[in-house]
Symmetry: D2
Subunit: 279 residues, 4 copies
């Protein structure tokens, strides 16, 4: 058969193996979700059911991919942290990011249809589509700053959207264009003030899930952790032993997956109390 | 707001802009589809409805992404050719491949559920997931060999599968393991002979869609083509003029999308009669 | 011995194999040569001996690396074209560019010291250093435009430098700063006019080596070429046969290496008469 | 002028900016130095003058590139460590490695000619050529293991070479082929035994420069260090402040460059006493 004659074309294929001993973050991002939210008539400024659909899809990724230890989601995006010694698909970048974009898509569609029986995904309306990218970070300080960056972004956008949609929907009679003009150039304190004086809304009392986004963690039981992790310090040679790592992996597999909506930016203890995230 | 303090993390992001004036082929590939086909009870050796679901999903890619001019699919894979001067997402590799893997997934799920009302996709059973990769080829001869390679692969696999499942399902009473052992080391002619002598099957008469896979082309009307393309030869400076390219793009947009099941390997005229594929 | 314990560090090494069947151009470029030319007291605007040193170093690259078929040099830079099917060091980018930067450096130093016995390279003054980069081009039209780009650059710079140094050195008594200000915003025709009216210099009569730079070609004898290359057209399958390529390689090895100073920009026949450059 | 018409070719150029906050190691390696050592008649097993030429060339790199803080050399290779926050040439890989390969070449040639007035580099004999590669390491433990790997390699090769050349040169009358065969399959202890029993050589008494290779360090004065570095611990946010870094950079610039021949493999204190190497 002619097979061998054409096999040479494989030599044009390229792989990018992501640098070892670095933290891989994969961020998925909805494509055209502004329009998607209009077509499927999301509540404004936040649609709790749509948020829960994306959160459920993110949980499915935790279930299927044990190397994911932490994730943060807001709006139409989610960032997944893979543990430092992740060997999944030999750390091939293309393989990793396309599987994440594909799996988030099928899980999203599944949960959407489950929770929206009268408004299911229709190809005539619009299909949900997510892109994905991988970024590697050489140390955990930068990883923390990455997630702080996303949560800062959540805060800025949610404060804006909450004020914007109050102006449009809550009796001010502004068009979306009016509201945009009105908010142009305002600072955080101005928006807080508008919300409070015009609508009696104290932004601080808004639901945490909207203000902080959603955090998912493969969470270790503290007792187990104390017993098994406490000596997981680098050995003489600065390396965690293979035996220690294998035991750690078993523990992580049995770990509960938990969801939070809280501060990542200033709460250093949030991070320091979970040493396994950086191991 | 703390935003700017964390923005530096963006400097760790990387882009790979695929080399200009090369042909981009994006191949999507089902993950764990052997198991998927068992769980959702595909007909063996070929499940025509499942094939049509993937073909419909591939057509959705043609509808949404005008730069795709040609595609070839077989088994659980599809390869899409983007035109040489494609500028989509500035040819960013990660963006391109994740959108393809995501879109094929949502379109697959949509068409699956549409055609399998009593056997819809269930998260408890298995979600469909596709990886994707991009490969660039510097000239059209290699592009043709790429698609020949995939079709040669289709032939080899389909002949094997047709013989294998005949042995298992058509009264020989072989287990799958028996059949595997039986076929070990056989050549094409042996399998043809087994099919004919044991089952009265002339492999040549098997449906073309199984033997050749599926070809999708953005097809130009010949009359239009003759008028508009005939002088699309490189100009003095070896370049197609911008005006010519813009005209070509309009034509391609109006082009019909057609599906074929035929030979790509020896039929040189198949390619030479469609000069717009390499432009 | 502890060897194996540390071998794992090799897994952090990366290679970039340059895409096959593309043209590799490697451009070397002097680092800090403006200062180098002051320290070693180059004639201005052009120092013929220094140009010849770089040309001799480029010729040494032709002698040592048979895959180099064409080169173009001007000022303190040189661009080398490797033939399309070059397999040198498996087309590893890092290996290729560092060998070019190293070899041009040692050959430059050797020829400099040979031609400047009273002004040899001194580490206290300054060592010659060259960086290098590789760029791949998917077709020969872009390759030609690449070399036209460098020659256009040569023209612009040489016209400027010729006028600038005439103003400074030829009795106008301008400082270098005055001359810079004087030429600011002028067009080519203005500089031509300044040269002619003030200094009686017709720029067209300046030496070709300064106006056009230096071209080096692995040149085939026409008779041999006609006999051996005339049928080197792509075969049925669009491929040059292996046998043909091997014969071509033998011819190229026996080829003379010739040097020219002529137009690359408008003279299409220059390129079309040398089909082996693009093979 | 035609310039702009060709400028588009620049879009084919690529850069690889090496990941920030990682350690860059650049290793240069002599090309064909086995032959080079024969042509220029090196003493065997080690030629002290040739070693000193390479060491002097490496020192020139320290003088010209302040970001180099540590280096290790043996045989015809040298590895240079750049500090973690190095921004040289925006960490562009091609720029960095070609400048290292070029500078080591010119410095080598300069020092060779200086120390070998009767046996200078000749283009007819052979020019010295060095390739170079960059590798990035995400943490200092791997960096230390990298240098341990090179020193382990030095040990293995030097023990072999010392034994090999003793067999050939010291009255055993072996040909090089005989010696190769004789040593095939021997372990370290066997070679030590051969040296001792046949030639009265105690390998441990061989010169350190041969057994350990050469280490070059930008060395901080301890008093200065204690005063200025002691609080260079990560701040609250896990970051060294900019002010601290600037002060550190000033200190490093004033540092002495020192050369050693000692153990890197088991002597952990060697590393721990020089915290600035990992900053």
């Amino acid at each position: 058969m002619a097979k061998s004659r054409f096999e040479y074309v494989r030599e044009f294929e390229r792989e990018n193996h992501l640098l070892q001993e670095t933290y891989i973050v994969i961020r998925i991002d909805g494509k055209g979700f502004h329009k998607f939210s209009q077509i499927y008539e999301f509540d404004k400024p936040n649609d709790i059911t749509a948020i829960e659909v994306l959160n459920s899809a993110a949980l499915e990724i935790f279930k299927q991919i044990p190397d994911v230890v932490f994730a943060y989601g807001q709006s139409d995006e989610y960032s997944f942290l893979l543990k430092k010694n992740c060997k999944l698909y030999e750390r091939r970048e293309m393989k990793l990011i396309t599987l994440f974009s594909s799996l988030i898509t099928s899980a999203y569609m599944y949960h959407w249809n489950l929770t929206h029986p009268t408004n299911p995904i229709s190809i005539e309306k619009k299909l949900p589509v997510f892109d994905a990218r991988a970024v590697i970070y050489p140390n955990f300080d930068v990883v923390k700053d990455y997630f702080r960056w996303r949560q800062a972004d959540c805060h800025i956008n949610n404060l804006y959207n909450t004020t914007f949609w109050a102006l449009v929907l809550k009796g001010e009679g502004m068009t979306t264009k009016d509201a945009e003009t009105y908010l142009n150039g305002t600072f955080s304190k101005d928006k807080n003030e508008i919300l409070f004086s015009k609508f009696g809304i104290n932004y601080n009392n808004e639901p945490e899930i909207y203000k902080k986004g959603t955090i998912i963690i493969r969470e270790l039981n503290e007792t187990i952790m104390k017993k098994d992790i406490q000596h997981q310090q680098p050995g003489e040679e600065g390396e965690v032993s293979n035996r220690q790592l294998q035991r750690l992996e078993k523990i992580v597999k049995k770990a509960e997956i938990k969801t939070y909506h809280q501060d990542l930016i200033t709460d250093e203890e949030f991070w320091s109390s979970r040493p396994w995230l950086s191991m």
